[in-house]
């Protein structure tokens, strides 16, 4: 909701100031920001070695939201070509999926923290607690299932956006 509200506000501001054409350039900028957000995936798959994984994850969350906002401003309300709209819908689905993943991760962390405190109170050692928590398959399964949905949606967005960019270059540049 915040994303849509922010889009409407920015779009309104640009139109009121006669700067609607800035929206065109919000597209490439949004793509750049989204590309940067995939630094997290690169770090996770060990293509990058700098920075902590949680740090990259937070950056991924922020940059994805900002990139999605820029793309939404770029899209505006121009309902004609199907491809860019399919790409926009895929991006919204990926953003929604990402937010759901964030929620699942937060829930898992809270659950883990509570379990750790409980096990420590029972007098278990740190190693025993770690072993115990690793077997918490329910949480891990939920996150794994989520990834099964998040990744295809992200791939769909990536390829549709790629087609859109290529078509723009083909016909316009």
């Amino acid at each position: 909701m915040a994303l849509i509200l922010a889009t409407v506000l920015i779009d309104w501001f640009l139109h009121s100031q006669g700067l609607a054409y800035w929206g065109r350039w919000a597209g490439p900028l949004g793509v750049l920001v989204l590309a940067l957000s995939f630094g997290y995936s690169a770090r996770k798959r060990k293509f990058l070695f700098t920075g902590s994984l949680p740090g990259w994850l937070r950056l991924h969350e922020y940059l994805s939201w900002i990139g999605a906002l820029l793309i939404m401003v770029h899209s505006g309300i121009h309902l004609h070509a199907w491809l860019p709209w399919a790409a926009t819908l895929a991006m919204l689905a990926a953003t929604a999926s990402g937010l759901m993943g964030k929620y699942l991760l937060k829930t898992a962390r809270d659950k883990m923290k509570a379990a750790k405190t409980k096990l420590a109170a029972q007098g278990l050692t740190d190693v025993e607690i770690e072993n115990q928590l690793l077997s918490d398959s329910l949480t891990l399964k939920a996150l794994a299932n989520w990834r099964k949905g998040h990744m295809p949606v992200t791939y769909t967005f990536f390829f549709l956006a790629l087609f859109h960019v290529v078509s723009i270059c083909f016909f316009w540049m």
């Binding site: 004609h80 491809l83 949606v153 083909f170 016909f171």
Partner: protein, 294 residues
């Protein structure tokens, strides 16, 4: 294989095929103009791959422009080496969407009436200033006009144009269109000072304040850089001028006009223009000039 990946693959392949087979639906940013409607499904009729649209001359021969009206042909000729799509777009509602006056050479750019029909309404008759004094190049309206050069608005004078400029004539004004200024009251008050000509209030009250005149009388003041003595009224002449109706009082220059424009009231153009009030001022031309030089 992951179900999600299969769905993603189907979507992506569908989009790719759709873009290849029905580009006007999948890729086109908007319908073509009526004249080009038959090319709707043939993108490459106008677009060169990775170069953009640029095949206009395949159909629109440059020599065809000579058949156009002279003004239109000349206008396009002066645009120089710009491409058609610098101004014209086919996709979308508006045909001409990218025109900018910056595309014109400076001489053409300053010759507004070369392309635009000069306005002939009362607001613009006799205006000698360039159009750009009031109008921007983005749109004719709104125009800006420095009304304060002739009359300063203050909190008591937030009046509608018609209150002072009656009959849509911005070349004259009256201060008696407002209930705050009663003719009888004004006449009595000014008669005490020997002022019987009540036609050009702004001459002595440039911001509509009572004390404008007193301040001017007591000492030469700087008023927006204008300095000088107060106009001296000739009683006999003023009496002769009393026959004029208040509504036909002062005349003024207006160089703006139209909706959203702050019209003028003022003094500068009414010298020697033949109206009753003008004759009066022309006889006092020296005084007035002195006052303007104030």
């Amino acid at each position: 294989m992951n179900k999600g990946l299969v769905i993603a693959l189907v979507l992506v392949v569908s989009a790719a095929l759709g873009s290849l087979l029905r580009p006007h639906q999948f890729l086109s940013p908007g319908p073509l103009i009526q004249g080009h409607a038959k090319l709707d499904q043939d993108c490459l009729a106008c677009h060169r791959p990775f170069e953009g649209p640029g095949k206009c001359e395949n159909c629109h021969k440059p020599e065809d422009f000579l058949k156009k009206p002279v003004a239109k042909a000349e206008f396009h000729h002066k645009l120089g080496p710009k491409t058609c799509i610098s101004c014209h777009t086919d996709h979308g509602v508006r045909h001409v969407s990218h025109f900018s006056h910056n595309l014109l050479d400076s001489k053409t750019n300053q010759d507004c009436s070369g392309c635009h029909k000069a306005p002939t309404d009362k607001n613009h008759i006799g205006v000698k200033e360039s159009c750009s004094a009031c109008h921007g190049q983005g749109a004719f309206k709104p125009a800006s006009f420095e009304h304060g050069k002739w009359f300063h608005f203050d909190k008591n004078h937030k009046a509608k144009c018609i209150t002072c400029h009656q009959g849509e004539d911005y070349t004259s004004y009256t201060c008696f269109g407002c209930h705050a200024h009663g003719m009888g009251e004004i006449r009595g008050e000014h008669a005490e000072e020997g002022i019987l000509d009540l036609r050009d209030c702004v001459g002595c009250h440039p911001s509509g304040k009572e004390y404008d005149a007193k301040m001017r009388r007591s000492r030469p003041v700087k008023d927006n850089g204008i300095q000088g003595p107060v106009r001296q009224y000739d009683r006999a002449e003023a009496l002769a001028g009393m026959s004029a109706l208040p509504g036909q009082a002062g005349t003024a220059v207006d160089s703006a006009g139209g909706q959203g424009v702050q019209e003028s009231g003022g003094r500068s153009e009414h010298e020697g223009k033949g109206e009753h009030g003008s004759e009066h001022h022309s006889e006092h031309g020296d005084d007035e000039e002195e006052e303007d030089d104030d």
